[in-house]
């Protein structure tokens, strides 16, 4: 039996993989969320239709089922990726579908007179979306995005089921080796909690930056 703190070394190694997967999948998920959310809120019927199908499939099924499907079933269709890529893409597709609903809601919540004012100023549609609607909507998206980022961090634990040596995988490995469950799992949970606190702090900082930026419009003099 090792000293309880000796477990921290291997666990931190796993936490590094967890952090990498969490950051990569959150970033990719944000891209997917914006693409699908904008397509649903202001795309043509074809794009909106594709976005609806994507969102319903990934929100309507279970993440672990999705990961297993990508890992075990997709290669049978002749398409295989290494486990880390599978994990990142699976998590991103899942959290992106939840994020898409946030993006759509925030876009639709921008008051209609903003659209009317943009039209009165004869701004092109694309310009209205990127310069008028999104900067206001993004601020409203941040609190739900912060929840989703923590949710995604927690969800990364499931990638241990597709052989990725993340924090949860390392904890299982140590337990099988030492049977010393209590300190191993307590340290693991505390590490997840610590990372979650960092994620929440970063998201709060981002929100305050965005809110500050949105409150002071930059006026360019002619």
């Amino acid at each position: 039996m090792m000293h309880a703190l000796n477990y921290l070394g291997p666990l931190l190694k796993g936490a590094e993989i967890t952090a990498i997967i969490a950051v990569a999948s959150t970033a990719l998920g944000a891209v997917l969320a914006f693409a699908a959310g904008i397509a649903r809120a202001s795309g043509g019927w074809l794009l909106a239709g594709i976005a609806i199908i994507y969102v319903e499939i990934f929100r309507g099924t279970s993440l672990l089922v999705q990961l297993f499907w990508l890992y075990y079933a997709l290669p049978l269709l002749g398409f295989s990726m290494d486990p880390i890529m599978t994990g990142i893409i699976g998590l991103a597709l899942n959290i992106g579908a939840y994020g898409a609903e946030v993006v759509r809601g925030a876009i639709l919540a921008v008051p209609n007179d903003q659209h009317e004012a943009a039209r009165a100023l004869n701004l092109p549609r694309r310009h209205t979306l990127w310069r008028i609607v999104l900067p206001q909507a993004v601020v409203e998206m941040m609190p739900p995005f912060a929840n989703l980022a923590v949710q995604n961090l927690k969800d990364t634990a499931l990638v241990s089921m597709i052989t990725i040596t993340d924090l949860t995988f390392r904890a299982q490995e140590l337990r099988n080796l030492t049977l010393d469950s209590v300190p191993i799992y307590i340290e693991t949970l505390l590490l997840y909690f610590a990372v979650a606190l960092v994620v929440m702090g970063v998201m709060r900082w981002l929100e305050s930056r965005l809110r500050h930026g949105a409150a002071i419009p930059r006026v360019r003099m002619a």
């Binding site: 499939i57 672990l64 049978l76 949970l189």
Partner: protein, 230 residues
């Protein structure tokens, strides 16, 4: 061959149809775990919400910290913790019970917030009016606050019920024989993962679409003015 049902590998469709009865056996376990977990989450959530509203910081702060901790750490690790640690202290439960408790514990963190938000949403004036009518604290909760909170709380609880349903496959990791577990066993025996896993996905999709429609109906049909408890 499982549970007396044999599979027919001739075409993907016949395979899908032949394994459906096996998967439905797993579905029963999935639904039972969700139901039991949800009951635990609803009851524990009330306990957390009330303790957090207790006047003493000695109680409300540690409870708030614990709930936050449960909410921000993964269900899978909490499940492992309960599964491997409880027996060390002489608490030996069947895997199914451990799974339902883990699900219920994780979601109690969410439901406690739903209850809190539901009560906070009721205007202060209601408290003051109750005080003016000389109602006791208990009467105020039972006859004034909770009846008005119910229509706000139920749809949110419904959403968490659907989330829980989608998280039950995590329980397959501690040898609970749910739908996903059975699909994996079928895959291991036939080397055909595509059809069983897709079927599990499809069944979840159908279930969640039905549940979401149910929640929308519930939201629409509940009286805004409140539901009396008596």
């Amino acid at each position: 061959m499982m549970y007396g049902h044999s599979w027919d590998l001739s075409t993907p469709l016949s395979f899908a149809i032949s394994i459906l009865p096996i998967l439905l056996i797993g579905l029963e376990v999935t639904l039972a775990a969700t139901a039991l977990g949800f009951v635990i989450a609803m009851v524990l959530g009330i306990v957390w919400a009330l303790l957090r509203r207790s006047g003493s910081r000695l109680i409300s702060w540690p409870v708030a910290g614990f709930v936050e901790f449960v909410r921000d750490t993964p269900l899978l690790v909490q499940l492992y913790f309960l599964y491997f640690v409880l027996p060390k202290y002489g608490i030996v439960l069947p895997a199914f019970m451990t799974g339902a408790i883990a699900l219920g514990l994780q979601y109690s963190a969410y439901t406690s917030e739903v209850y809190g938000a539901g009560l906070d949403a009721i205007r202060r004036g209601q408290w003051e009016a109750s005080a003016a009518l000389n109602l006791s604290r208990w009467q105020t909760y039972r006859d004034v606050l909770i009846p008005q909170a119910i229509p706000r709380v139920l749809p949110a609880l419904g959403n968490y019920l659907v989330s829980m349903l989608k998280e039950t496959p995590v329980l397959s990791t501690v040898s609970i024989v749910d739908m996903l577990n059975l699909a994996n066993v079928i895959g291991d025996r036939t080397f055909e993962y595509l059809v069983p896993l897709s079927m599990v996905g499809l069944i979840f999709l159908i279930l969640t679409l039905i549940c979401s429609a149910g929640i929308r109906w519930l939201e629409w049909s509940l009286p805004r003015s409140g539901i009396p408890l008596r």
